[in-house]
């Protein structure tokens, strides 16, 4: 450099400069303090836009803005104060209007006494390498977005999440960079595509707001998703509204059907695709050009992604259409997986339900088996007792009918009374035993009550007032053994009627609650009937006689066996009432 400075100071400096820099593969120039070019090589002349080096000599680079138009006026002037500057990747348009990306290095050169004598400058054209670098960065970022899309898709099985991730990837500024993206899902069985969701701004103003906020940010897909969910909900939803409910036939000759039938993405132009359906779509979306990519998995038509640049008008290249197809392929896999996941979840739920029902059935079978065994046992015991009772009672009757047993008459009557009582008990046990052999099934509660009430009416004596029956509007279903339940309801009805019908009016009413059905046996009457009701119910359910006890025991256990219960509760008129309740059956959904 010292030699160079000396040469510059000498008369022969031009010779020296030429010998050093004429063939340099980068531009080199020297100006005086007024900016007038004293020397520049061919490369510098070309980059600045001079026809030849001779044209540049005597030209002032102070008019740099006019020359390379890159906003360096101040920086250039600052060199004359002794500073240097180094600017890389300047986007410039030279004096002939050619665009180039330049690296520019300038420093002052000094005279023999150290004074600033002018400017050295080196200009390097990095247009190609810059472009390649930018392309490489873009490719890396696209790959990164693709990778993030893949990663995000593998982390969710929710179809809504899947489509949102895909469309965000399609519209990410440095992903595919489309302005808007639309997803249509196929209703293959019904033969049409249906608009599902859309992502993107609805107007240039909105696009400006969004893009200026995101400008220059190399954000991840997850950050984009979060940003979209925070800021673009309204626009996305209004864009989604634009396509919601659209139905596009799968078998038409339009562009969407064409892409699906081809199985690959296509570029749709307003002028080229003149099918009415296609022009309708373009018109409704307010665009003249769009890329569409079918979503197909194993030959199944799952849907289609459409994307456009209606805000920026950026041309859609073939490579971007191919990339959109890659997104669509990923979408196909994700949708298929999401559907499989839903199927698996549904099957798991069904299996759980079947398992629950199986466990319930096993429990039921065990209980039914137990009841059946008890029924068989009581039946055989009862029958074994009936014959001896018949004989004992029969002979006692014979003796009494002879009229010749005055001394033993009292005892024989006791034998007859107790025999009658034992036979009544046997009758009840045998009824229960018979009921145990019936099968459980779905029943309608009101019907069961009506049948039982009818049976009760047929058994009433003339002096017993028939109880009033009031049915709820709804006839809820229950599950159980009809014979056992009829027997149980009948026993409770009979108990109250036999003890209280002469005292008061009895009303039997069905009622439905959330998970229970009820038969309520209520009483109406004035004093002393009211007191009698209280006393009688206390006696029946607090201190029952032997026969009552057996009836309540068998009937109560039957209700409990069916998941129900019984009891005495207060009513609005302060008279106690009897309730019998059973669980409502909802078609296998009972807990």
């Amino acid at each position: 450099m010292a030699d160079l400075l000396k040469a510059l100071a000498s008369e022969e400096r031009m010779t020296v400069l030429r010998s050093h820099f004429d063939d340099l593969p980068m531009g080199f120039f020297v100006t005086n303090c007024d900016g007038y070019v004293e020397y520049l090589n061919d490369e510098a002349a070309k980059l600045i836009g001079f026809e030849s080096t001779l044209e540049a000599i005597g030209y002032s680079l102070y008019n740099v803005e006019n020359i390379i138009n890159c906003g360096l006026m101040d920086a250039f002037n600052s060199i004359l104060t002794g500073r240097t500057f180094r600017k890389e990747e300047l986007h410039c348009t030279n004096r002939q209007g050619h665009f180039a990306i330049l690296n520019l290095y300038c420093s002052p050169h000094r005279g023999e006494n150290g004074e600033i004598a002018g400017i050295f400058g080196i200009i390097q054209d990095v247009t190609e390498s810059s472009k390649k670098k930018a392309e490489l960065e873009e490719a890396i970022y696209e790959l990164s977005i693709m990778s993030q899309v893949s990663e995000a898709l593998s982390s969710t099985a929710d179809l809504d999440d899947v489509v949102r991730i895909i469309l965000t990837g399609v519209t990410a500024n440095e992903g595919l960079g489309f302005n808007r993206a639309f997803l249509f899902l196929a209703k293959e069985n019904e033969g049409y595509l249906e608009g599902k969701i859309a992502v993107g701004p609805t107007s240039p103003e909105e696009a400006g707001r969004i893009w200026s906020r995101l400008a220059g940010q190399k954000i991840t897909l997850r950050e984009m998703l979060n940003d979209y969910s925070q800021h673009e909900n309204d626009s996305n939803s209004s864009l989604t509204t634009l396509i919601a409910g659209w139905r596009i036939p799968l078998d038409s000759s339009g562009a969407f059907s064409e892409a699906i039938n081809l199985g690959r993405g296509i570029h749709v132009f307003a002028g080229e695709h003149t099918h009415r359906e296609t022009t309708d779509i373009l018109t409704r979306l307010g665009t003249e050009s769009m890329a569409v990519a079918p979503i197909i998995s194993k030959g199944r038509k799952l849907g289609l992604i459409a994307a456009d640049n209606n805000i920026t008008g950026k041309k859609i290249s073939d490579s971007v259409v191919e990339l959109l197809q890659t997104f669509a392929n990923q979408t196909a896999v994700a949708i298929e997986r999401s559907r499989l996941y839903d199927v698996q979840v549904e099957r798991a739920r069904e299996l759980e339900e079947i398992n629950r029902q199986l466990a319930e059935s096993q429990d039921q079978i065990i209980r039914v088996e137990k009841m059946s065994v008890i029924g068989e046992l009581t039946s055989s015991i009862a029958h074994e007792l009936r014959n001896p009772l018949t004989v004992i009672g029969g002979f006692a009757n014979l003796l009494v009918s002879t009229g010749q047993i005055d001394d033993a008459a009292e005892y024989l009557n006791i034998i007859l009374s107790e025999t009658h009582r034992a036979e009544t008990v046997l009758h009840q046990v045998l009824d229960f035993s018979k009921a145990s052999r019936a099968r459980t099934r779905e029943l309608q509660f009101n019907d069961l009550v009506v049948e039982t009430h009818g049976l009760l009416l047929s058994k009433l004596r003339r002096d017993q007032a028939p109880p009033v029956l009031q049915l709820a509007d709804e006839n809820p279903h229950i599950w159980g053994n009809p014979e056992q339940l009829r027997h149980a309801l009948y026993q409770f009805m009979l108990l109250t009627v036999e003890e209280l019908t002469s005292e008061c009016t009895i009303k039997m009413a069905t009622a439905t609650e959330n998970r229970q059905v009820r038969l309520i046996i209520g009483f109406k009457g004035r004093e002393p009937a009211r007191a009698k009701v209280v006393t009688t119910l206390k006696q029946i359910f607090g201190n029952p006689t032997g026969t009552q006890k057996l009836s309540i025991l068998v009937a109560g256990e039957t209700l409990k066996y069916h998941g129900g219960d019984y009891g005495v509760e207060g009513s609005q008129d302060n008279l106690p009432r009897l309730y019998l309740e059973l669980p409502r059956y909802t078609g296998g959904e009972n807990d």
Binding site: S379, H383, R386, N387, P388, L389, T390, V391, I392, G393, G394, F395, A396, N397, L398, S401, L416, T419, H420, E423, L430, K434, R437
Partner: protein
């Protein structure tokens, strides 16, 4: 005199029914098996049969079928401690079904009804 044949495997039941129905003025024969019943019927005609179902070595319903086949017009009352056989199709060919009880009124009424039918 109206002749009644009783078929029951329990000796005390046979004895009781003989006493009760004799006092009603019937001529009563009581046997314990189906074989004895057919022997009695072959030997002498009867106006009515009272048949138990659960016999020790036989089924009353089988005997009922054979009796109805051999003596179609002979009234037969099934008389059992078991009510469940009422629902058995095979019992329906009997003319009546009366549960065993120390109260003989239902049985006596049914005999009168069938004899005078």
């Amino acid at each position: 005199m109206i002749k009644v044949l009783i078929i029951d495997d329990e000796v005390h039941v046979r004895k009781l029914y003989q006493e009760v129905l004799s006092r009603e003025g019937y001529q009563v024969t009581a046997v314990g098996t189906g074989g004895e019943a057919f022997a009695a019927l072959n030997e002498s005609g009867y106006d009515l049969v009272i048949l138990d179902i659960e016999l020790e070595n036989d089924s009353g319903l089988n005997i009922l079928k054979q009796l109805k086949s051999s003596y179609p017009g002979l009234p037969i009352i099934l008389n059992s401690a078991y009510a469940v056989y009422k629902a058995d199709f095979h019992s329906w060919v009997a003319d009546a079904y009366v549960l065993k009880s120390s109260d003989f009124k239902p049985l006596k009424d049914k005999i009168k009804e069938l004899i005078h039918a």
